[in-house]
Symmetry: C2
Subunit: 408 residues, 2 copies
Amino acid sequence: MSTWDALYANRAARMRASEIRELLKLLDKPDVISFAGGIPDPRLFPAEMFQEAYRDVLTGPEAERALQYGVSEGSHRLRSWIVAHMKTLGVDCAPENILITSGSQQGLDYLGKLLLSPGDTVLAQAPTYLGALQAFNAYEPNYDRIDPGTNRTADDFKAQADLKGSKVKFAYLSPDFANPTGKTLTWEERRSVLDQAGRLGCGILEDSPYLSLRYDGEPIAPILAMDCERSGGIDQTRSVFLGSFSKTLSPGLRLGWIVASRDLIARLVLIKQASDLNTPVINQEVMARVAEAVFETHTATIRAAYKLRRDVMLGALERHMPEGVSWTRPEGGMFVWVTLPAHVDAADLLEKAVGNAKVAFVPGKAFHSDGSGANTLRLSFSCAAPEKIEEGLSRLGKLIAETVIPAL
Amino acid sequence: MSTWDALYANRAARMRASEIRELLKLLDKPDVISFAGGIPDPRLFPAEMFQEAYRDVLTGPEAERALQYGVSEGSHRLRSWIVAHMKTLGVDCAPENILITSGSQQGLDYLGKLLLSPGDTVLAQAPTYLGALQAFNAYEPNYDRIDPGTNRTADDFKAQADLKGSKVKFAYLSPDFANPTGKTLTWEERRSVLDQAGRLGCGILEDSPYLSLRYDGEPIAPILAMDCERSGGIDQTRSVFLGSFSKTLSPGLRLGWIVASRDLIARLVLIKQASDLNTPVINQEVMARVAEAVFETHTATIRAAYKLRRDVMLGALERHMPEGVSWTRPEGGMFVWVTLPAHVDAADLLEKAVGNAKVAFVPGKAFHSDGSGANTLRLSFSCAAPEKIEEGLSRLGKLIAETVIPAL
């Protein structure tokens, strides 16, 4: 036993490695067609724009500022771009309503840190983005399940929390083309979440990194936009919007943002100051320039590329999946969620898929904190070339057919 | 009252703005000679080297990797440079003993998160770097005071912790040219800290961002180096070393590192994964290149510049301070710590200093968590030109003489 074993905090018991990250390391083989990773296609990054922006920022007297410490709130220029961007989404806010974070993952960590005492309740969808639960786990909450569209009410959530002597602090939701399901909450579902949060007196964390990757259908207002309208303005809201540059321009600069009431942002700035002082100024100044110059055109380009891949994937699923298999038809994002017949275990299937069929995906159980979802799996279409998608799903369809039929 | 007021975690009560950061905003006036800020001189940053390195990293196929997500541990190339650097300090370690952090401030946050449950005890010097206490405060510890060189023993610390039903988790120390005092722990003091931690069964956090800025005297081995030697190797140690590029190459990329036993690093990697996934790959790859190319020559250059400023400051203090004023004579770093006669309040003095004498410093009380130290102040020589140092201290000496004598 090392010295340290006797010294860990209670919360350390809840810190575990991401199963998915561990799995992805194993699946990274050159002869396997992989639909596993949920990352943007690096061939689509606007590398030349970034190169030019780093050169500009490091030329002349501005270099001194770019390489120095900066304010915890974040670069004014980048926050100003985000103000304009949020306006296009129907959220009217000022730079003081924005905190720049090191990716939206850091936003999730800070919100957990600010809001969660041990035993507090978080409402989350199932399946959900497990990185969020990992961030919250350090603050030792309980979880309850919210599925907008079903008929659990605020009273049900409150009764459940009361049973444990707990209090619901916030609902965590990913409303647009969620990871892992690809699903989008309707306007009515968003309104219902806002209603229920109002009745519970709790907050809402609206995590929307894929928002700009819509391929068809009409955009739906963020919950924060509805909340602004209803409450009389951003400074009276109970919702927090988390945005990110990771799925559009680049995840490598680790830049995300939180939009919320001034009071909440002021608290989060204190957390930022105490936990890493500030996000690198140089990266923020670079991202501001790249976003100003090419956000619109670049997102149009990648939308076209990803839409094609999604279309090929949905077509290939139609062509190759045997009866009894169903899947989501996402209007954006990077993921299709597949449900197999109830008796099929996607983790067993993965072994055969990688070993024999040379095709990979993530078993859906990994996205369920309660161990359910064994017959589900996640396919990502973001990094695969169209012909590989066709080929990979043909192999996977064959394998599923062979696996499903003998068991029937 | 806003929705959020009812939703904050218990720990939020201990989150406060840094007085010093707030003060620095007020002191930033063009006609004031400031010894207040404790930051590196931006005119000394190797901006051209950084520009070149960003260009290289963003050219060709490497750009895709630099702009993508990365591993939570940190870039292998940068960790390898740090392995070699730690070897020059007498610490024999492998890349698996290193976690790259977003500045060493993030290292302090993560170590607090991993080790502190509410009510646990942290031993800290007084005065100390308050940013560390800010990081720890989020995890609601108690503090006790450790001053190596005085005769408080492990038994005293244990008795004090026992009284509160608490457990000492670690001692936090800044052994080299500490912020704010400029003091350095002797070899014997370091050994005594290691002895006491051994008897307490606690850890040691050795925070040494100024280590490479030694202007004279002989280097003293880090506590971690002594610990490695005594315990039989890095993986058996109870010490953690926190290093930083912020005071040498640039604080703007927000890059620091933790060196510790493999077990501890593995736990910290889980925290990194859950709290911001990874530090930007692009910045790590750039810093690795710049460190490989110019760390030695660049630190020699800035040491010469800072040494001159320190010498001018110590000379000017001799020339201009009235009797009854004493100060430290730091062998490195950025700070001189001044003690005024007991009845003088440095915060009152600052008002007159900024208003009439047009010279600024940080009152020492800000660095004492217990409200003591009213008659102390911190002077930084890192950003002032030699002639300004002479002029500023001449003004300050006159003001102190006028303030001290009437009160005698």
